[in-house]
Symmetry: C2
Subunit: 430 residues, 2 copies
């Protein structure tokens, strides 16, 4: 039974993602209408440069006045694909105030202001959906929020940034250094001219905040996420990883503490065993591992970015939000009832791979081992190699608190026999 | 804002899955209430053997009269984990008639009678959810039905039966024959005493029917699914696969035809390249690859069976159905509007790996090649080896229609110089 009055959609932003959303809304209009139960109509497109020719979009729909568009009052759903904090935040809030539901792909905004936006949606009885904000086309928000709603998620471990995975995969497979791999990523369009948001882990940290909040039904802010970029990963680190049967990935890791009373969220490069499913995630692909009490280990894999994949996620949300609207209902909203606190990085328990440059003389290993013991960090393996009075020592620890490891490293730097700490890398996924 | 009157749940069946559903409903009652917005209460449990002690379940809730339970009139949601066609079908229909929504894990019933059950749900304005019917805990129905609702799915390719994957993985990794690997699967509890439903592909075919229907928004019945079991896969087949850089998996494959005007669904063993993500799915795990126009290639991976994983999927559906009920809405129902016909196996286009025992004399290859050419099947590679007057010929074709290949094989069997067709295996995932 098809309603004939169309649902009206306002599109904010018409770049790579927005133009693809508009294209699919037009070319797949009949399918969307059948799946929603009513036709959807593109009622307006807010852009910055109105003079740009946009194939397939009626120029009469194009406006530079996004605020007027979301205030029109006849808009059922606002699709926000502008990105960034402002004006996106004000436009979304205004959209709720004027009766629209919102589909957004804006990870930065959701990570920073998710609480306020969810509150605004709830206040006005509207939906806020944002599957596209994390890992592009990969269904992840909906499975965590709905499929696992009857389960207890303990861990989310994922590759959520395609640019850095492309660079690290290139370094791993060719032996290239960071700069060389970054240059190739830039040339191929996988990295932006200013790659900071990706390579320093800001993008992944925003996604980690969103995922942790949903997975643990609590509030995790961007500032709660520990973040280390991957610009200092070297070819030597990859060689060390290989010796351990590992590779290196930039991971977003969200964990519930063993006692269940707190959570942590972090982004940093880490060694993972080649046998782990995440190790074989190549190129710019994303993949996220989820561990839950009853479900066990699940993995979701796919393209994490790009116009079409992101548009697919936006349109899936658009269909859901339109259905909710027709049914006079809203989907599952914000869920932060557990109010679990977020612990600092020092409380994270994991394993470490540490490379030291040391003097090649008797007693060094004993000195180093004593430092670890004094800080309560148990050593799993040590490998020593040396020549010409210089030696290197590779120590892999058992699981220990990050704070204890920081103590170890500070103390090691004080030893005369330790010339330098060449690298410290966490070991995950075991 | 929490409603205090609880939602009442009737559980039909209290075996491996049902008892786990009941356990989690009790131990995680607070979480479920917070996520739903109202408490849920186990209002009755229908079993066959009431005398059996069921830990954590109030004996006063246990009944052998499932019909009376679903007819009570105060039940909000019926969870059906009995399995099989009857009495499950009648109980579900009766539940709808008496105002309940239904969560089911019953793949056989959904594959056979999905249309009628969906119609009954729609008639009474109730939900029918069944995430647990396909691939256990792996979110698959919801992503296909909701996350990809704005996209066009072209292909679903998956390992959806853990028993057969365990057996094939064992054969691959140890060189064991089928019987030996099956015996181990039985001993470890991965295979049932009568493994027919698994090894002959009936279980996977039911899942393929469900997945194809949802993916293509059409009606695919169990009888529409072409089915070949994996009991005739040999150690020699694995050796051949290895030579091609492949392994062998029992796959469920649902495809939209190139012209978009029909679909196919099939289950059979197939060679897939070791580089394909499905090749590394080990043991009893399941994984499903989905290819969509905009989203690209997605993969969903996890435990495909077992009490806890299946209970996780059931409970996710239970939360969704309860939320819908509180909101006075229903979720996305049956969607078969495309009415795409299901083509027979003969129309399926794929590649083939054929092993022939032939006479070791000049001209045999020419004869064989002529047969392929006469049927319009183009050869990719041929490998010949022989000794003592006997030879074997391995032919790998380019893509061709299954009907053409059948014609080739029939004709090859007529040749005096072909002593036998040792194996025919499709090659997928390239």
């Amino acid at each position: 039974m098809m309603r004939t009055r169309p649902l009206k959609v306002a599109l904010l932003g018409c770049g790579v993602v927005g133009s693809e959303v508009a294209r699919i809304m037009t070319t797949h209009a009949d399918d969307l209408a059948a799946r929603i139960g009513a036709p959807v109509e593109l009622a307006g497109v807010a852009v910055r440069r109105p003079s740009k020719v946009r194939e397939g979009i009626d120029p009469a729909l194009v406006t530079t006045d996004a605020t007027a568009l979301v205030k029109r009052g006849d808009i059922d759903v606002v699709v926000e694909v502008i990105g960034g904090i402002e004006p996106a935040r004000t436009l979304i809030t205004t959209a709720f105030e004027h009766g629209a539901s919102v589909v957004s792909a804006n990870k930065a905004l959701l990570a920073q202001d998710g609480e306020a936006l969810h509150a605004a949606a709830a206040e006005h009885g509207r939906d806020l959906y944002y599957e596209a904000a994390v890992a592009g086309a990969i269904p992840l928000i909906r499975p965590l929020r709905e499929s696992l709603a009857g389960d207890k998620v303990n861990r989310v471990l994922g590759i959520v940034n395609g640019t850095t995975n492309f660079i690290l995969d290139k370094m791993d497979s060719t032996g290239a250094g960071y700069q060389e791999a970054l240059d190739e990523a830039t040339a191929l369009g996988y990295a932006e001219a200013d790659p900071t948001a990706d390579v320093e882990g800001f993008d992944a940290a925003a996604k980690a905040a969103i995922l942790a909040g949903i997975a643990f039904h609590t509030r995790v802010r961007l500032d709660d996420v520990y973040r280390e970029g991957m610009t200092e990963v070297t070819a030597a680190d990859f060689a060390s990883a290989k010796e351990m049967g590992c590779t290196i990935k930039l991971l977003a890791i969200c964990e519930r503490a063993a006692d269940g009373q707190s959570v942590t969220a972090r982004v940093h490069p880490a060694m993972i065993p080649l046998s782990h499913p995440l190790a074989s995630v190549r190129g710019a692909y994303n993949a996220v591992f989820v561990e839950a009490d009853a479900a066990g280990q699940l993995m979701f894999y796919g393209p994490g970015a790009g116009g079409s994949p992101t548009a697919s996620a936006v349109l899936g949300d658009l269909v859901a939000v339109c259905r909710n609207r027709l049914g006079g209902a809203t989907g599952p909203g914000d869920s932060a009832y557990t109010q679990l606190p977020v612990s600092p990085m020092g409380d994270v328990v994991t394993r470490y791979h540490i490379s030291l440059d040391v003097a090649d003389k008797p007693g060094v290993l004993a000195q180093v081992a004593t430092v670890f013991a004094e800080h309560g960090v148990s050593i799993d393996t040590v490998r020593q190699s040396g020549k010409d009075g210089e030696a290197s020592l590779v120590v892999v620890t058992h699981r220990a608190a990050d704070a204890a490891l920081t103590g170890v490293v500070d103390a090691l730097r004080q030893l005369d026999t330790v010339r330098g700490v060449a690298s410290i890398m966490r070991v995950e996924g075991e």
